[in-house]
């Protein structure tokens, strides 16, 4: 892109170059392919100038300058490498090695460590100063992250990342001089602190001081040069965060956020505890071969052909025996759009299923009913609008549990934009600097939102309505402090010019509609955002809920309204079924087939056929964003275990055996069909 800003002419290592004014000498050098080593500097963080590894000679001055914090000047002459500079860098590195225990062979980070690489680069093969270090503590209280202060070089990257990227502000320097340590909150353990385990500190840590407790030690898996990296996205919650997967030997070693991500994402490319750690957790035994229920009631491994034949026969028989409502198809909203389109067509057009639904269908129905009551078709707001809002009201939702990056953005906006945040309901992430906290009792949600709606929209203008609102508030039996908080929230909502509401369908219980409706109504009254968009973000329970809902997978009618099904196909994507309502729905069927990556433990007594399918990480597919407006492509990162077939192969085999022609002959056809339906 051409800019009108006049470039600055500078000389680096005898080479005259033109650079943008205001950038640092380090940036100027890197743009021109000149290497300057760094340690405390990270491209995604603010510059600090603490480590002095990046020192250069500026205009022949006897005092070396840290290039990461020295801006370019017109005509400046920079030397990035000479004997004096190298000697200075090497001395600093020696001091770092002498100050703490950097014993590379027994470090989890060996092979992927910036300190180690720098020592090789600057040829530090021995120390000219005595090693003075003491033993420092190690904190392994968290299930996700460990801190080993013995490996810490106090570069402060983690402190800056915690503040600038995650917004948690849990990390800071404690004490000073040789006693300086990175501390959490009031020097607490990782577990006792308010740390949110996003792991951004670990990603930016140049050494093995902060490492993850999930992965195999790199030392065992070879150096980073032997790994493959795949850039893809995380499909866990609908925010579609870009993620970089490091793979070796068909094993994911680590998942990193794309921290240098462009400005289109206000989250600055971070990942959360789910996307970085939890996705690597296995939640049961993998299913690698189909299993059939024997005459004696036990499940036994069987060949693919036999399992598919039996499934197709039983499903066809069920359709023949009872027209219409015989079959139910239930899919997890964690599947890609492609898998969902194929599943929907196979179940609906192919087998004439009476009910096709998703595991989060109840949420969909609440949203659907609320939307039907609106005066015009409206869109949901995008989570990317959070930094622009002047007031954020969170009702009943817990973004840290469902969409953790949303909670990170809220934390950051409280500090960076002084945005007022009001929280109604319990939260895992307490947002310590939120303007309001109001507890929400289970039965009170609808009444409370109704009262808020009345009070916030008619504040001081309509006496009758004010009296009505006051009556509602009285019914809530709030304590004196809570009532004051309630009135203050109502006043803030009524005064806000650019508010955003964040909620979940059904607030607390899935059956609770009217509170959700009142909130939709309240956000409608606060005016629309550009593009017929409601000021409302609905947090959804699964990674591709929006896609599944848009594709019509979730049924508008309550399941079972067309009669009880006798056979069911359950299409899981890596979850274990624990919802008692769902288990209830699945009992008493004549035939249950479960397609799942894991052995479904809770269904082991009920299922007649188990068919293995790949995990999300083992398949390609597109996903739809939380607000339903964007589509992202998720790449296959590793191969599925041997013997497991792709979802589309399983579904086409079933289609073939039941005599259904879906109209897709290849994987590409399915992709095109899904793309067309998503409006891409």
């Amino acid at each position: 892109m051409e800019t009108n800003v006049e470039k600055v002419k500078i000389t680096i290592d005898g080479k005259e170059v033109l650079v943008d004014p205001g950038i640092s000498i380090l940036e100027a050098a890197r743009q021109n392919g000149i290497h300057i080593p760094t340690l405390c500097h990270h491209p995604a963080l603010s510059s600090w100038g603490g480590c002095r590894i990046c020192v250069v000679e500026v205009d022949g001055s006897p005092k070396l300058a840290a290039s990461c914090v020295t801006p370019v000047r017109v005509g400046v002459v920079v030397v990035t490498s000479n004997e004096r500079i190298i000697e200075s860098r090497r001395t600093i590195l020696e001091f770092l090695f002498a100050e703490r225990n950097h014993n590379c062979m027994i470090c989890a980070q060996s092979g992927d460590c910036e300190l180690q690489k720098l020592a090789y680069e600057l040829q530090v093969d021995h120390l000219t100063v005595p090693a003075l270090f003491d033993e420092f503590p190690t904190d392994i209280t968290s299930a996700y992250l460990a801190i080993d202060h013995n490996r810490c070089i106090l570069c402060g990257r983690c402190v800056r990342a915690c503040q600038e990227i995650s917004g948690a502000r849990v990390l800071n320097f404690n004490n000073r001089g040789p006693h300086n340590l990175i501390g959490l909150d009031l020097s607490e353990t990782r577990e006792a602190s308010t740390c949110l385990n996003c792991g951004v500190c670990m990603q930016v840590c140049p050494t093995g001081a902060i490492y993850d407790r999930y992965r195999t030690h790199y030392a065992v898996k070879g150096h980073d040069t032997a790994w493959q990296t795949t850039e893809s996205l995380c499909p866990q919650c609908g925010l579609m965060c870009p993620a970089i997967f490091s793979v070796h030997d068909n094993t994911v070693l680590k998942i990193d956020g794309k921290l240098e991500a462009d400005d289109s994402r206000p989250d600055r490319g971070q990942l959360c505890y789910k996307g970085r750690f939890e996705v690597l957790k296995t939640i049961g035994k993998r299913l690698t071969r189909p299993m059939l229920r024997n005459g004696d009631g036990t499940l036994a491994e069987e060949s693919w052909e036999k399992a598919l034949d039996l499934t197709a026969d039983r499903l066809r028989a069920a359709t023949r025996a009872k027209k219409g409502a015989a079959i139910a198809g239930l899919a997890s909203s964690m599947h890609s759009n492609e898998a969902l389109v194929f599943f929907r067509d196979l179940m609906g057009r192919g087998l004439g299923a009476g009910c096709i639904d998703t595991l989060d269908g109840a949420h969909f129905r609440i949203v659907h009913r609320a939307w039907a009551g609106l005066d015009m078709p409206l869109k949901e707001a995008s989570w990317k609008m959070i930094p622009e809002a002047d007031h954020i009201l969170i009702v009943g939702a817990d973004p840290y549990q469902t969409q953790p990056i949303v909670s990170s953005l809220i934390r950051r906006t409280i500090f960076e934009n002084r945005t007022k945040v009001s929280v109604i309901g319990q939260q895992a992430d307490l947002f310590p600097f939120a303007a309001h906290h109001l507890p929400l009792k289970e039965g009170d949600a609808s009444l409370l939102i109704k009262a808020l709606l009345d009070e916030a929209t008619d504040c001081g203008t309509d006496d009758v309505k004010m009296a009505q609102a006051a009556e509602l508030v009285r019914k809530l039996c709030l304590s004196e402090t809570d009532a004051a908080v309630f009135h203050d929230i109502a006043r803030t909502v009524s005064e806000a010019s650019n508010p955003l509401f964040i909620t979940v369908a059904g607030l607390i219980t899935a059956a609770d509609d009217s509170g959700f409706n009142s909130l939709v109504h309240l956000s409608r009254l606060k005016g629309l955002l550009p593009g017929s968009t409601l000021r409302l973000i609905i947090l959804k329970p699964f990674g591709n809920s929006s896609g599944a809902w848009k594709l019509g997978l979730a049924s508008e009618a309550e399941p079972g309204s067309k009669g009880q099904a006798t056979a069911c196909v359950l299409f899981l994507a890596g979850e274990q079924v624990s919802d008692p309502d769902l288990l209830e729905r699945l009992t008493g069927l004549d035939f249950l087939v479960v397609i799942s990556p894991y052995i479904p433990e809770s269904l082991a007594d009920m299922a007649d056929v188990l068919i293995p399918c790949p995990l999300w990480i083992e398949e390609d597919g597109t996903y739809t964003s939380l607000d339903g407006t964007e589509t992202g492509y998720k790449k296959k990162v590793i191969e599925p275990p041997s013997g497991v077939r792709d979802s589309w192969q399983i579904l086409s085999a079933l289609a073939e055996r039941t005599g259904f022609r879906p109209g897709f002959d290849t994987w590409n056809d399915v992709c095109k069909a899904a793309q067309k339906e998503m409006g891409g």
Partner: protein
């Protein structure tokens, strides 16, 4: 503590720039900085706990354990160092049975070292609360502590 903190906060506006004065006033009032007080200061000033704690631990003037009734500071400034501050410190430690930055079990004495108390002409010197005792020898130091202990005992007896 709640009331004392409220009284302190009433004199401030609650901005991030007030953290150090807030910590100072709190310590003046409570004698040290309890964890809860630091949390309250963070909430009041809109500053994360980690930052409050980082600031508090950076400055040696802030304490996180209660001081004794008699707070002994042994000067280790240049002049005192030359005149044998190390021996004085060792002696006081032995006499009180505690190390640097500790408080005796009965809560009577606490011990701390400081860089210079500005009485170099009197080196080596210690302070007990705000009283300076100079030109010390081990013997004189014992007398100073004994006097303080005697005063403490007398107070106790008078109290009875």
């Amino acid at each position: 503590m709640e009331e004392q903190l409220s009284a302190i906060f009433a004199r401030f506006r609650g901005t991030a720039g007030e953290v150090i004065p807030l910590l100072q006033k709190t310590q003046e009032e409570l004698g040290f900085l309890p964890e809860e007080a630091m949390r309250r200061i963070g909430d009041f000033a809109g500053v994360p706990f980690s930052k409050v704690y980082g600031v508090a631990t950076f400055y040696t003037m802030f304490r996180f354990t209660p001081v004794g009734k008699y707070h002994v500071c042994v000067c280790r400034g240049t002049a005192c160092h030359v005149r044998g501050a190390d021996q004085i410190l060792e002696h006081v430690e032995r006499e009180l049975g505690i190390s640097e930055n500790e408080t005796t079990g009965d809560g009577e004495f606490s011990l701390e070292t400081v860089a210079c108390i500005g009485c170099c002409a009197l080196a080596p010197c210690i302070t007990v609360n705000s009283d300076v005792h100079g030109r010390l020898t081990s013997k004189k130091a014992s007398q100073v502590l004994k006097k303080a202990r005697g005063a403490a005992l007398k107070e106790e007896e008078d109290g009875k």
